[in-house]
């Protein structure tokens, strides 16, 4: 089964896909921005500041999704010794890191008009900051070490330790008294967000997901070419 994950087979798809993904991203982000900044209504309590939600929430969702995927790939890759899974994980990391920075910065900007402060050491914000540090450590490991086995081991360990933080981020607003509001969107129970705000949020989430896919594809292709460059050196 794992032969289908061979780089040469994947490259034939990943080298052609970015232009189509970029095209879709431009469509989704254009509609999403129009909805988020102009068409969606203001909140009765937060007024127009609620619009920050359309960049803050998708960024937070996607960074958590990316880190979870990286962990899964690292664990499976380590158990079955599939080098390609580590490459996929490595290629996901830059967009995950940028998304967590966006979530933290936009959250901070949103905090000022809503809570009266740029930053608070509350459970949700602090646990997100810790996840950002795990992303940073993961990226640094690939930069600092040269031995691949060592990189695979350490990076897998970082993702395993970091994933412990993901449920803490998710449930921090329920477990502790925090400034951060509880989730408005629930898969298992009824969401408390109005459809006029849910639609732009869904479109922006799709746009952000497409952007992370675009960066992943470009990064993954770069990694494959790097490997091929080393292969040419050995010829």
């Amino acid at each position: 089964m794992f032969k289908y994950f061979e780089p040469s087979k994947i490259f034939s798809i990943t080298s052609k896909a970015p232009k189509y993904v970029l095209f879709l991203f431009i469509i989704f982000i254009s509609i999403g921005l129009t909805e988020a900044l102009i068409l969606s209504p203001e909140d009765y309590k937060q007024s127009h500041s609620v619009r920050i939600m359309y960049v803050h929430v998708p960024a937070a969702w996607i960074t958590l999704g990316i880190f979870s995927s990286m962990t899964l790939l690292s664990i499976v890759g380590y158990i079955f010794k599939i080098r390609n899974f580590f490459l996929i994980s490595k290629s996901l990391a830059p967009s995950g890191f940028v998304f967590i920075i966006i979530a933290l910065v936009t959250g901070s900007i949103w905090g000022k008009p809503t809570w009266g402060t740029w930053w608070a050491w509350d459970a949700r914000i602090t646990s997100m900051l810790i996840l950002a540090l795990f992303y940073l450590m993961y990226l640094l490991v690939w930069r600092l070490y040269k031995n691949e086995d060592k990189i695979f081991k350490i990076s897998a360990l970082i993702t395993i330790l970091g994933i412990i933080n993901v449920p803490i981020i998710k449930y921090s607003v329920n477990w502790w008294n925090t400034l951060h509001q509880p989730a408005s969107i629930n898969i298992l129970s009824k969401s408390t967000i109005h459809p006029s705000m849910l639609v732009p949020l869904a479109i922006m989430t799709a746009a952000f997901a497409l952007f992370s896919l675009l960066i992943f594809l470009m990064k993954y292709n770069t990694e494959l070419i790097k490997i091929k460059n080393k292969g040419l050196d050995r010829l």
Binding site: P7, S8, F11, S12, S15, K16, P18, K19, L33, A36, L37, I38, E42, S47, H48, S49, R51, I52, V55, H56, A59, P94, S95, V98, I101, I102, V105, T106, I109, W110, K112, P113, F211, L214, I215, L217, M218, K219, N221, T222, L224, I225, K226, K228, N229, G231, L232, D233, L235
Partner: protein
């Protein structure tokens, strides 16, 4: 209408700066990733060009190498 979109009841600065930061981050990441890709591909093409004919034909027999050389999508 335009001033309402810009000022947003006094929240304009917060909202616009959040969106600007997000889009700027996207743009920066895209450009950096594109530069890295272009640099690696250029390196590959130069190395490939320096190969002797029999090594080059062996390298060309690998489909992925052919794909890298022929990729004209700009990515």
């Amino acid at each position: 209408m335009i001033s309402e979109i810009l000022f947003m009841n006094g929240y304009g600065l917060y909202v616009w700066s959040s969106f600007a930061f997000t889009l700027l981050s996207f743009f920066s990441l895209f450009v950096v990733t594109k530069i890295q890709y272009a640099r690696e591909r250029k390196k590959f093409i130069v190395k490939f060009g320096n190969l002797k004919s029999e090594k080059a034909s062996f390298a060309k027999s690998q489909s992925i190498n052919k794909q890298i050389l022929s990729n004209t999508s700009g990515f």
